[in-house]
Structures are given as C-alpha cells and as structure tokens.
C-alpha cells in the first residue's frame, strides 16, 4: 500500500546549521510551534509541547542526526496530557539538505502504522483493533473530496 504521509517542504535562505538550530532548539521552537517546549534532544528523549490555550502534548524523540535529520513522535489523541503509546502518535520527520547557500527543509508526518503490539490492547473503542490505520492521509482526503463531488 502507498505509504501514509503528508509531505511539505520549503527553501530557506539560511545555512543548514542555522535551520537545524531553529528546528531543534526550544527557544526557537516556541517561535514556530508550541508556546513552550521541553525537549530532551536525543533518541528516546521526552518532548512536551505546551499551548497556553490547549494543554500539553507529549512526544518522544526518535532520531537526531545533526544537522540533517530529526524525528519525533507526538500524541494525536484528543486527550492532552496522554503519554506516547503504541498507536496514539504520529511520526514527524524533518530533513535538511543544502541547496547552494540555502537549505531545503522537508517535513513528513505519517502515522498509525507502527501498531505492533497494540492489537490486544483494549482501548475501549469498538473495532479499534481493526481500524485499518494503514492508510494514506492524502488518499483519504482525495476519497472524501471525490465522494463529496459525487454526492452533490
């Protein structure tokens, strides 16, 4: 099946090292992401993204390869404050590559594929173990839009 992912990129007129700092350093992260952030920048390190009007979303650092690659998982469920578990977090991957004096920054968000071990977990939702997470977000959006057009 097509890998499930949202991919976006942008060209930044700054060297890779500076972009890396903006993407990974808490004092910069609060400028583009959550209002405050607590980040242990190493594989397995804890991340806590807090919004003043929403609450704290927990995450976990996956890979840190300065200055080219950084990835983390973050909880997508409705309950702010929930810890990262199997099946409740999406993966966010930042890739930085030099283009001349500039940097191409690519972000890919994907998720719900690494559900191994969660099948026997009773999360109180009917059908949760058969949810069919293995589905591309873009494909799903396309489906919904197609059906909307057909339904009109």
């Amino acid at each position: 099946m097509v890998p499930q992912r949202i991919e976006r990129d942008i060209l930044i007129d700054a060297p890779v090292e500076i972009v890396w700092a903006v993407v990974t350093e808490p004092e910069h992260i609060s400028g583009w992401f959550s209002d405050t952030v607590d980040l242990d920048l190493r594989p397995g390190g804890a991340a806590a993204l807090s919004w003043d009007d929403y609450g704290t979303v927990h995450g976990r650092v996956e890979r840190v390869e300065p200055p080219h690659f950084f990835s983390f998982r973050w909880v997508v469920h409705r309950d702010p404050g929930a810890p990262v578990r199997d099946g409740n977090a999406t993966l966010v991957e930042f890739s930085l590559s030099p283009e001349g004096d500039a940097t191409r920054l690519t972000v890919v968000e994907s998720g719900f594929r690494d559900l191994s071990g969660s099948e026997d977990e009773n999360r109180g939702h009917a059908d949760s173990h058969r949810r069919g997470w293995d589905h591309e977000l873009g494909e799903l959006q396309e489906y919904a839009e197609k059906r909307m057009r057909a339904g009109r």
């Binding site: 949202i6 942008i10 930044i12 972009v19 400028g31 009917a126 949810r131 919904a144 059906r147 009109r152």
Partner: protein, 123 residues
Amino acid sequence: MTPAIAEVDELWAAVGDPTRRRVLDVLLDRGEATATVVAGELPVTRQAVAKHLAVLDRAGLVEGRRRGREVRYAVRPEQLDAAARSMAEVAAAWDTRLHAIKRIAEAAAAAQRQQDRTRKETR
C-alpha cells in the same frame, strides 16, 4: 493547530477502514439504505455492517432514521466535507510552521552575515 490533528484522528479512525469506505460508497450511491441492504452489496455480514455503521455514526459521518421496524442510514455530506477539510488543515498547519521556521532562520542568517561583515570591517 494541534486540535485540528486531534479531529483528524477520530475521522481517520472512522473512514480509515476500507470496508467502512465501501459502506459509505453504498450509502452515497443509494441515498439511504438499511444495514441489510448494504450487506447485500458487500462481502460482509449484516452484523458487521451494523458495527461499521455504528462507528460511522459516532464519528458523525452517517445518521440513521427509523422507519417502522427498520433503520435507514444516510451519509451526512457536511460531515464528510468537514473530514476532508480537517485533513487539509493538517497539511496547512505544517505549511504555516515551515513558513515560521523560514522567517526565524532567515532573520538569524541575516544577523550572522551582518555580524561577520562588522567583524571583517573592524579587523
């Protein structure tokens, strides 16, 4: 920004299952249908269809109306539209964040260039 993603999660759970998408297809094609009629068009039992309809109902994607002894289900198109839009929001949220990163990084790079120039000049 984050709440948009939480919304998607629930809708994704509802529409992420291929059988449920086929259930939606049948309902959209027919306008409305009972679980028995939907099951007649898909290789699944009526009981399975009823479960899928319950999940879709909880996500607000379909609604059931009782007619005598049977319940007829129909898609709520405004909810399906909202699902598509909230998924687009996830992508839009990343665009917003990337633009903010660009702004911060370019300002920092410009400041550094300025500093380098000043250093050279004072040498």
